[in-house]
């Protein structure tokens, strides 16, 4: 900070006549920030504060809200539906962060090391494109595709099982409360996997090939090189992916809305869908606001932890290299 101030001052002194304008030049950049700040206040900050305020009231969306203090939050603590929705969030974190990261790492290493090196980068690019394709699909459309594939009668998956003689494995994939959460998880893995893969493949390009060659000369097999050379090198990317995917998992809404509407019997309800239905179907606005406020706090805490891990690993990374 001080360095830039000095540099700026020197530049001004050297090239400009000292006058009343010079001290203002740096600050007048702040004018460029004005539209952005105002828009943010109106669209993000004010609504967010309103939402937090409403969470301390009882309000049906019309008339004036009635202040009830922490009553909504106390009620939430005893609400089994609320706890269930957060339990399902953990399922989503497994399906959208943990599993895609692990699979993404293996796929990226295999595509980069094996396919890229022995069959050419074209093959690697085409295969990567196949894995990435679901990421550009609107989640509502992905939901339509999968709810049709997983349909109990005439659905492709059940028909396929019948065709290969596994008819007894047929299920009502989205309608059976014991199976629906896992079906939704499977769909989310399919949706999510391209993101870690692309990030990791970009990260692998940073890894110095000499490290690999040295390890290979020492007789280290593929898995050991992957574990001891590749993984430590792309640790910053792993933290980025885990943070982003965990946050995305906590925010999941569209997939649940289209696939199951939280059902059957709340078996796939998640906090965002729970707050949506509380807002707009039950019109208990104060209660819905409390749910979304808790979700926000959790997401912000996780983001801060993620950012911290990320900066620390990037610092460590630079320490090694210099």
């Amino acid at each position: 900070m001080t360095v830039t101030v000095e540099r700026g001052a020197r530049a001004v002194g050297k090239y400009r006549q000292p006058g009343p304008r010079s001290p203002r030049t740096r600050d007048s950049y702040a004018l460029f920030l004005l539209p952005g700040i105002l828009a943010f206040l109106a669209i993000v900050v004010v609504p967010f504060l309103m939402n937090t305020g409403v969470s301390f009231t009882e309000w049906q969306g019309v008339g004036s809200p009635k202040w009830t203090g922490l009553a909504n939050y106390r009620e939430l603590m005893d609400d089994s539906e609320f706890w269930a929705s957060f339990r399902h969030s953990l399922f989503m974190v497994v399906a959208m962060a943990a599993v895609p990261t692990v699979i993404g790492l293996v796929l990226a290493a295999a595509l980069f090391d094996y396919i890229g090196r022995h069959f050419g980068s074209r093959w690697a690019a085409v295969l990567r494109a196949c894995f990435y394709l679901p990421q550009v699909l609107p989640i509502a459309v992905a939901g339509i595709v999968w709810s049709w594939i997983l349909a109990p009668d005439n659905g492709s998956l059940n028909e396929l099982l019948k065709a290969v003689g596994l008819g007894s494995w047929q299920q009502d994939w989205l309608g059976d409360p014991d199976i629906a959460p896992y079906s939704v998880m499977g769909v989310m893995v399919w949706v999510q996997i391209g993101f870690p893969l692309v990030v990791f493949m970009a990260g692998l390009q940073r890894v110095d090939p000499q490290l690999h060659e040295a390890a290979e000369l020492d007789g280290a097999g593929w898995w050991r090189r992957f574990w001891h050379v590749t993984l430590p090198q792309i640790r910053p990317e792993i933290y980025v992916v885990l943070t982003w995917c965990t946050i995305a998992a906590l925010k999941v809404f569209g997939a649940v809305y289209v696939l199951t509407k939280g059902g059957p019997g709340g078996a796939t309800d998640v906090p965002s869908y729970f707050s949506f239905s509380t807002f707009f179907e039950k019109t208990q606005v104060g209660y819905g606001a409390a749910i979304s406020t808790i979700l926000t706090v959790i997401i912000l805490v996780l983001s801060l932890i993620g950012l911290k891990l990320q900066t620390r690993s990037e610092d460590a990374d630079e320490g090694i290299r210099t």
Binding site: T4, Y15, R26, D27, S28, Y29, F32, L33, P35, A39, F40, I43, V44, V46, P47, F48, M50, N51, V54, G61, L107, A110, L127, C130, F131, Y132, L133, V136, L137, P138, I139, A140, V141, I144, V145, W146, W148, N154, G155, S156, A163, W190, A202, E237, V240, K251, F253, G254, Y257, V258, F276, F279, F280, V285, G288, S292, T296, I299, L300, S303
Partner: protein, 274 residues
Amino acid sequence: MTAALRRYPVLIALCIAALFMVVPFLIVAVNAVKSPSEYAQNGPLSLPDGLYLDGLKDFWQRVDYSQKLVNSVLISGSVAILAAVLSVLNAYAIGIGRVKGRTWVLAFFVLANMLPQEALVYPIYYLSKQVGLYDTRLSVIIVFTVIQAAFGTYLLSSVLGRFPREIIEAARIDGANKWQVLWRIVVPVSRPTIGVLLVFFFIWTWNEFLLPLVMLISNDNQTVSVALGVLQGQRLMDATMTNAAALLGVLPAIVFFLVFQRTLTRGIAVGAVK
């Protein structure tokens, strides 16, 4: 020799895995061109006898799909351009202007980007009703311009922070003011990053679901995502109609993917590393 023999199983395994990823698209495409009677008779796994396009045509007319496409293009396109402009202005002040307290301003944008939309949706719904913008495409454009610009500011600020200062100082000596420096030098030089932002904003906005679902209730204003999602949620579609809906929803995404593939993969890498 043994190494060469080991390579092929890896290639084959990866090809099978990739096939699994695209099979849902293929099944949808195959079934969207079957007639209802053919579907009822042979099920979803058989190959179509011929090209039956009435199902698609029917669906197109029933949901007025052209209008939905126009809405989606209008909303996503406006958001992409406006959010990119807003990001450039913010990032110019933060990355090149180095305004006081910029770390805090940046942290504020980052956190705003992380906020779940659930925490904003009801007040935005309520306020838009108060100012008469409820159920207009403009309301969705305004909201997403701001939300997407949060990410754009974050990404572009770090890119502009490394902008060669000699160029800017040289232009200033030549008498260019800040506005001219921004549009004649900074923007043209940063064109690759801005291009990435435009593509991302467009596709992200195209795919948005929760806020458009809440804000756009009349048929004439709905986006592709919302219209298809609502239809599916009502559970009123038969198998042929579902397939038509799925195919028409998938096609634009595939077009964007093919057109923007390079930008997308490069962009994700840039966005993730910084």
